[in-house]
């Protein structure tokens, strides 16, 4: 490639740069959640029994089901990249669509779980939560903060993947140009990794 004309410059793409840029962004996400994990660790060390008792408020079956849902969505996301690389555009579109549907299923489970808690007065500054000993209130406060922030990331991921569906339909993502889909996938997988840590810290804490 000469790169001497405006057209040549426009056609140039920096594959490695795009990926490094995405990873740099992911590092900020890792540090964001990492800070919260450090906060959780500090309070768990201070209130081990209260964290154990408050953990019984959470239904671990829902946590495990949501883990299976997110791991499966990560699989469909990873498979969609291979499909695009092999030129199987239609299959890739279906797989990204499945990923978005699984993300929605995760949020439905979360909605059911949170609704039950809120119904019982267990929400930040809620009447029942304020009656709990400090350590148990902290556990549930961290639970709502961390799973809530994670839930927002799932919503953001679903929006990004929906945009990828449009780009796939318009052939803007195709066999010879798919770094956007790869980067969207990296984001989705990181959201999955964060949930992998949230499962034992909250749902299996009891």
């Amino acid at each position: 490639m000469s790169g001497s004309t405006a057209h040549g410059a426009a056609a140039h793409r920096d594959y490695a740069g795009a990926k490094i840029g995405m990873w740099l962004f992911l590092f900020t996400e890792i540090v964001l959640f990492g800070g919260l994990f450090i906060l959780y660790s500090a309070y768990r060390t201070k209130y081990p029994h209260e964290f154990h008792t408050a953990g019984q408020e959470l239904n671990y079956v829902i946590g495990v089901i949501n883990t299976v849902v997110l791991l499966t969505s990560s699989l469909s996301m990873a498979l969609s990249i291979t499909a695009v690389q092999k030129g199987q555009q239609r299959l890739a579109t279906w797989l990204v669509g499945l990923t978005v549907i699984l993300g929605a299923l995760f949020l439905v489970n979360k909605y059911v779980e949170w609704s039950a808690k809120i119904h019982h007065g267990l929400y930040p500054n809620g009447p029942e939560l304020l009656k709990l000993p400090p350590g148990e209130g902290l556990f549930l406060g961290l639970y709502f903060t961390m799973t809530g922030l994670h839930g927002l990331h799932v919503v953001a991921g679903m929006i990004v993947l929906s945009i990828m569906l449009v780009l796939l339909a318009k052939q803007r993502i195709r066999q010879d140009d798919y770094v956007k889909l790869e980067n969207a996938g990296l984001y989705w997988h990181l959201v999955d990794v964060i949930w992998i840590f949230l499962l034992p810290l909250f749902y299996l804490a009891a």
Binding site: M1, A11, H12, R13, Y15, A16, K19, I20, W23, L24, F27, I30, V31, G34, F37, I38, S41, A42, T45, H52, Y60, V64, T67, V68, L71, T72, S74, L75, M77, A78, L79, I81, T82, Q85, K86, D176, D177, Y178, V179, E182, G185, L186, H189, L190, D192, V193, I196, F197, L199, P200, L204
Partner: protein, 94 residues
Amino acid sequence: MNQEHGHVVPYATFVKVWGVLLALTMLLTFTSKRFHEALSVWAMLCITPLKAGLVFYYFMHLKFEAPLLKGMVFVALATLVVFIGMLFFDISFR
């Protein structure tokens, strides 16, 4: 260059990794519900990073990335681990 440089991972590889991730999730859940707390904490400390590592290595294609990117990820994660270590060092000697 108009051609992307990504490594094509076979479908079967991803499905196998997914199977291992599900199995590890079941093992983690079983251990935390059936065994003494000390054992379940150790299971959590071993199985959870292993699961995250599998997602990073295979699903996030880290296995096929250049040493520069691998090194960047290592430094970022190592920094976080050092800070978590410093936290427990601080708590232990209070």
